[in-house]
Amino acid sequence: MNIVSRLIAVAAQYKPRFWNAGTSKTQGQILFNYRKFWFASVTLRSLVSLVPIAILFMFTYVLENKAIRNENHLHTIRLTSNTRRTLTYFFEERLDALKFIVQEEKFEFLNNRLLLQDILRNLQRGFGGIIDLGVINAAGLQINYAGPFDLKDKDYRNQRWFVNCVQNGSYLSDVFLGYRNTPHLIIALKRPTPDGSFHILRVTLDVTKIIQILTSLELSERSEAFLCNRDGLLQTPSKYYGEFLQRVDLPIPAYSDRTQVMETVDKTGNPILIGYAYLDNSPYILMLVKRSKEIMKGWYTLRQEINWVFGISVILTLMVVLGISTFMVNKIYDADQTRLKAMERLESSSRLISIGRLAAGVAHEINNPLAVIGENAGLIDDIFNLKKEYSGDRQLQELIATVLESVERCGEITRQLLEFARHFEPKIQSLELKRIIAGVLSFLKKEASYRNIRIQMDIPDDFPVIDTDRSSLQQIFLNLINNAFQAMDKGGRLEIRAARQSQDLIRVSITDNGCGISEEDQQKIFEPFFTTKGMKEGTGLGLSITYGLVRKLKGEISVQSTMGQGTTFTVILPIKHGGDFRNETLAG
C-alpha cells in the first residue's frame, strides 16, 4: 500500500501542466481540451512509429523461421544422404567380398569344411560382424557350413531368400530371426557351375554392425536413425517409435530414388521431421527422425532475442512519443495561457481606461461647485476679517477655515485623479522626474505611513528634464515601488536615487531592505507569470509589464539582490526619447 501511494505521488510530480486544465474553476476560459489533444497526439504518433516496427519484426520473424526450417531440412537431408551412402557401401562391400571369393576359389571349398572355415576367418578379420558362411546346392540343401551354429544339411528350398536368389543372382535379406532365433540378415550370391547347375554362397551378418553405424551419428536428444523394411517393420531397434522387428509407429514414406524430407506428426501428436531414403538394391528404408521441438530450439532462443529487442524498441518509442507529445501540448498550453493572460490584461486595461475617463469626468464636474463653495466661504472669511463684530469670534473663523481647507483638499484630490487618469495614449512630453515620482508616492503615502516605511528620495537639483511618456514612467515607478513595499516588513526603508549616467542616459535606482530575491529567481523575475507571491496574490505580470514599459521607453532594467538584505532595481532611460515606441512584449 505504501509503495503504491508513493508511486502515485511520484507520478503526480510528473503530471504535465495542462493535465488539469479546465477542471479547476479558477482557471476560467479554456481554449482546447488539452487532454484529448494529448491522447490524439500520443495515439497517432504511436501508430505511425509502432506499425512499421511491428511489420519489420513480423518479417524478421517469418524470414528467420523459414531460414532455420530450411537449414534444418538441408541438414537432415545431408545427414540422411551420407548415412544412406555409408549403408549402401556397407552392403556392397560385403557382396563384393563374396563375389571375390567366388571368383578366386576353385570348387574345392564347396565340400571342404576346413577351407570354408578359413575363408570365414579371413572375412571376419577383414570386415567383422560376419557370423557364418554356408554353401547351398541347387536343391536348397546346405552342403557346407562354417560358423557357430550346427546348420549343415538344413533345407532352405522353400525359403523366400533362396527363391529370390535363384531368380536374381544375389540377395540381401531383411533382418529376421530364422532357425537360430537371433536377429540377423543374409547376403546370398548364386554361382553357376560348369555342369549347368549352381550353388549359392550365403553369408550371415550381425545387425550390431549396422546399429553401430546408425548410433554413431551425432544426433540431438530425442532424435534417432533406424532402418525399416518396405512393409514398415523395424530392422534396427528404435527408442521411441516402436518395437524391434515390429511395425514402426510412423507413416511409411512413399518410394523415392532420392533422399527426401517430410514433415509429419508422431502418434502423440508432436510435430516431427523425417529424413528418409530407400537404399538401393535392398529392402531397407533409412529413416532419420527429429522432433521439430528439438531442432527448433535455436529458433526459440532467437525468437526470444527478437522479442526482447522488439519490446525494448516499443518501450523506447513509446517513451519518446510520450515525451514529445507532452512537451508539445505543454508548449501549446503555455502559449494559450500567455494569450489568455494577455487578453485578460487587455480587457482590464481597457476597463481601466473607462474608469479613468469616468473619474476624470466626475472630477471635472466637481471642480465647479467646489469653486462656488470656495469663493463663498472665502467671502465669509474676508467679511469676518474685516468686520469688527465677527473678527473676535474664533469659533466662526475656525469653522470657515475648516471649510476652506476641505475645499482645498478636494481640489487636490480631483487634480491628482485627473493627472493620473488622463494619458493612456503614449505621448512624449518634457517631464521632471521628481514630480513624477512624487506623484506616484502620493498614492502610496498612506500605506507607507501605516506600515512605518521610511522613504528617502535623492534626486540632484541639476537633474535633467527628460522627454518621455508620462503614464509609462508613472506605471514603471508605481510597479517598482509597490514591489518594494511588498518585499518589506514594518519599519522598512525605501531609497530612490537618480543620477545622470552619461550624456544621453539617466539612471534611477529603487532600493529596499526587504527579503531579497534568490539568484535563481533573479534570472526569471522579468518572465511573464513568474511569481513568488503564490497564485492568489500576484498574476506574475507586474515586473514583466514593467520590463515591457522600460523597453518601450528604450531603456534597460536590471536587478541586484542579496537574500535577507534587500533588492535594488535599476532603470536606465534615455533623456530624449525619439518618439517611436518599440513593442517587444505583451506589455504594449
Binding site: N367, A371, I373, E375, R415, L418, R422
Partner: protein, 117 residues
C-alpha cells in the same frame, strides 16, 4: 486697475468680484457672452479673467472678441475642466491658467505679476 470677470456661475463670479474689491481692485463681472462684450465696450479694463468653458460660449472666442475691443488687455484663464497640462495651448495665449478651486491669493499673485510685467 480694472478687472473684468466672466463665468457662467453667478454665485461664484459675484463673490470673487466682491473679494477682489475688498482687496482694492475694481472688478466687474458678467455671466453671459453679450453682457461681457457690452461691459468691455463700455469701459477699458486692464485684465480679463475668463472661464475657458462656459455653456453656450467659449472662453477662447470671448478672448479674441475682447482683444479686438480693447487692445493690450491681458488675460487670465480659469477652469474646472482638467489640469494644467490640458491647457498648455490655452495658456500660451494668456498669462496663465488657474484650475478651480483655487485660493484667492493665487489669483491675486497672477494679477500683480501681470500688472508689473
Amino acid at each position: 486697475m480694472k478687472l473684468l470677470l466672466v463665468d457662467d456661475e453667478e454665485k461664484f463670479i459675484s463673490r470673487l468680484a466682491e473679494r477682489l474689491k475688498l482687496r482694492g481692485y475694481k472688478a466687474d463681472w458678467a455671466t453671459t457672452f453679450d453682457d461681457a462684450l457690452a461691459r468691455a465696450g463700455a469701459e477699458k479694463y486692464d485684465i480679463a479673467v475668463l472661464d475657458v468653458k462656459m455653456p453656450s460660449m467659449s472662453g477662447i472666442d470671448l478672448k479674441s472678441k475682447i482683444e479686438r475691443i480693447t487692445p493690450g488687455i491681458k488675460f487670465i484663464f480659469i477652469t474646472g475642466h482638467g489640469s494644467e497640462q490640458d491647457y498648455d495651448t490655452v495658456c500660451q495665449e494668456a498669462i496663465c491658467c488657474i484650475i478651480k478651486p483655487f485660493k484667492i491669493e493665487a489669483l491675486v499673485e497672477q494679477i500683480e505679476q501681470a500688472l508689473n510685467s
